[in-house]
């Protein structure tokens, strides 16, 4: 664990208990949403987390910000172990750690004007910027590409892309250092996605915000991230530079994932070699023993079924595989 990381997690797990029926409800199964992940994030970098449904990326993002309490493990922000911080102790940190949600239609309170929504962080944290809250909110609106005169409008008067901008405005209001973006463009049309991605890149460049970008769309993640983390069934499979990950994937799952992403280029599409994974995603309530990917891996050997591989450095990537490429 490096000392100069802005944000670190160590063996973070989040298990959700699921009640099963008995006379007194005592049999329990658990959904192992996040099952022991460790990661260092440096200031100013954008780390993308990709994976398919059930891999735990959304749960991980929420656990980073303690919107969901971790089952075990450590969360370290600016050198402080915040894992067990009470809500009161977290409060001042929350000004620096923010989240952008996926669904622009349900993330905004339909009964509040957008002015109120974006002013809320100031009120909650008791911060009054120079020139007053309203001026600052109008400045932020302009910055995200919205008209400041729409201060008193309600969310339903805006389109999906604009609502996502409002969500971003709210997240950056207090000039946070660390932002988790949970699938911020997945619900948007392609042409609007590009607008929001460009906005995030501008903000990143101008303010040096550290971003954790969670998505399932690999092309988008590669575009915006410096490093990429690939998750599967609650565990990390590979961490690499975004260029390296895509040109030189080391983990079989990463290879399969990349091979499955359709590219907007017919000649490439029709000639490339495609790895089609067999079988279905196992249930997170009952993950396979050993390496969680072994049930669908074409390279699986006995050791893969019995022992879970450690995250080790191979070349310039970090991979959890007994037989990396």
């Amino acid at each position: 664990m490096s000392q100069d990381a802005l944000f670190s997690i160590k063996d973070l797990t989040k298990h959700f208990p699921v009640k099963k029926s008995g006379i007194f409800n005592n049999e329990k199964a658990t959904v192992k949403a996040v099952d022991g992940i460790s990661l260092d994030i440096h200031e100013g970098e954008t780390v993308g987390i990709v994976g398919e449904s059930g891999c735990g990326k959304t749960t991980a993002g929420r656990t980073f910000l303690k919107l969901v309490s971790p089952t075990s493990g450590q969360i370290i922000y600016k050198g402080q172990d915040i894992t067990n911080f009470s809500a009161k102790k977290m409060r001042p940190l929350r000004a620096e750690m923010q989240i952008i949600f996926q669904d622009p239609y349900s993330a905004l309170n339909p009964r509040q004007t957008i002015g109120k929504i974006i002013s809320a962080p100031f009120e909650i944290q008791g911060v009054t910027p120079d020139g007053g809250v309203k001026r600052e909110v109008e400045r932020i609106l302009e910055r995200v590409g919205l008209n400041p005169e729409h201060y008193n409008r309600y969310p339903h008067e805006f389109s999906g892309g604009q609502r996502q901008r409002i969500g971003i405005a709210r997240a950056i209001a207090l000039k946070p250092k660390f932002v988790v973006a949970d699938e911020p463009v997945s619900a948007l049309d392609v042409s609007i996605q590009a607008q929001v991605i460009n906005l995030l890149e501008d903000l990143k460049r101008e303010d040096g915000i550290t971003i954790v970008f969670i998505a399932h769309d690999l092309s988008v993640v590669q575009h915006i991230s410096d490093r990429v983390v690939v998750m599967y069934l609650g565990k990390i499979m590979e961490i690499a530079d975004s260029t390296n990950l895509y040109s030189n994937p080391r983990h079989p799952y990463t290879k399969a994932l990349l091979s499955a992403v359709p590219q907007a280029d017919p000649r490439v599409e029709r000639t490339r070699e495609r790895i089609i994974l067999t079988g279905d995603l196992p249930s997170p309530m009952n993950p396979p023993t050993g390496c969680v990917f072994n049930t669908r891996c074409w390279k699986a050997k006995d050791i893969c079924r019995t022992s879970a591989p450690e995250l080790l450095t191979v070349g310039s990537s970090t991979v959890a595989c007994h037989f990396p490429e």
């Binding site: 590009a194 092309s219 994932l257 091979s259 499955a260 017919p266 000649r267």
Partner: protein, 356 residues
């Protein structure tokens, strides 16, 4: 011979589906929503035609129109949608609705975006599959069940004879979409309409489903009408592509035409705003500014004009004055733009360089 442009001299047996001048509007309290305007399209056996567009483009409305699934009390349709049925044709727009209903599931089938909600949660999938067969072959229960198991096997569901008695919630997302495909194939239709079939699925599952669809198309020589917003999917499976914007087709041609020789500004904009996996320096995405227009108050003239970056290269005032016609120099590749076609490639390329 494609029947796209003139609509004359078409051999109606050659095309499984022919849409001519389709207009769909929905009267509402705020005014008429012009969802689809003047759309013409055809589909042959064994080919995949993709309709690409974003939300509000009219692509889903078009697909529902082909199936005759609009509530005719709330939708106004005009034009014609001809579907080949045996030796004759049925016009979905103007023929008797009972005749149209008879086509559904038998000649033309549809699969939808969200397999979780598209299957009835209370009934076993075997019954849901068999029902599709029994609608068009009443009384043949044993045959229906056998065929259900056969179809489940075809789409790759393991142990089909056991799983035929399971309920939808006992299947994963990818499996459910396979079940939907099996259901669509119960009567070996000639046309399959797939409305965003993989949007709700994980990318590895998406690859499986697209491969399956291609395999089935080959086996049954079906025509597939694929509705999607994902250009990657289009590049993977489509033979011909129609790009829609605000209810109109703005460009139509082969997949190669659309991706390598786009002629409509919207298509160019779309291709530029999609992040591509790059192995070198990352290029900034060029987004299309502004928002899609309201379908109630469409601008006069070209619907894309308010967002078009090339408006200055067109003859003065033409973009606001009139909607350009769908025309093209090369056979089979048409587009709408007031800029003379010969000048477009240079103008588009110049803009791309400037942005980089």
């Amino acid at each position: 011979m494609p029947c796209l442009i003139q609509g004359l001299g078409c051999n109606s047996l050659e095309n499984l589906l022919e849409i001519k001048d389709l207009r769909v509007s929905f009267p509402t309290d705020d005014g008429d929503v012009h969802a689809v305007d003047n759309l013409s399209l055809s589909l042959k056996a064994g080919e995949t035609v993709a309709i690409v567009g974003e939300s509000g483009s009219g692509k889903t409305v078009t697909s529902l129109s082909v199936m005759g699934l609009h509530n005719l009390r709330s939708a106004k349709l005009s034009g014609s949608i001809l579907i080949a049925d045996g030796d004759g044709t049925v016009d979905v727009v103007s023929d008797d609705q009972e005749k149209v209903r008879n086509l559904r599931g038998r000649v033309v089938s549809m699969i939808f975006q969200d397999p979780m909600s598209s299957l009835h949660p209370y009934f076993k999938i075997g019954n849901q599959l068999a029902e599709g067969y029994l609608v068009h072959n009443p009384g043949k229960k044993a045959e229906a069940k056998a065929r259900a198991i056969e179809m489940l096997d075809l789409v790759g569901i393991p142990e089909p004879d056991k799983r035929v008695n399971d309920f939808p919630h006992q299947f994963s997302g990818g499996m459910r979409q396979r079940v939907m495909i099996a259901m669509a194939l119960m009567n070996t239709p000639k046309i399959l309409i797939a409305d965003e079939p993989t949007t709700a699925l994980d990318v590895t599952v998406q690859a499986q489903i697209l491969t399956l669809m291609q395999k089935i198309q080959k086996e049954f020589n079906m025509g597939i009408l694929l509705i999607t917003h994902d250009l990657g999917v289009v590049a993977q499976v489509a033979d011909r592509v129609s790009v829609m914007y605000a209810g109109n087709i703005v460009e139509q041609g082969s997949a190669e035409d659309i991706f390598y020789r786009p002629m409509a500004p919207y298509t160019v904009g779309l291709l530029q705003s999609v992040p591509k996996i790059s192995y070198g320096k990352k290029e900034r995405l060029i987004s299309i500014g502004g928002q899609p227009p309201s379908l109630i108050n469409l601008p006069s003239g070209c619907a894309f004009a308010p967002r078009c970056t090339y408006i200055k290269s067109a003859p003065a005032g033409s973009c606001d004055a009139s909607l350009p016609n769908l025309t093209g120099v090369t056979a089979g590749h048409v587009s709408r733009c007031h800029i003379p076609e010969a000048q477009r490639p240079a103008i588009f390329a110049h803009n791309q360089e400037r942005a980089n």
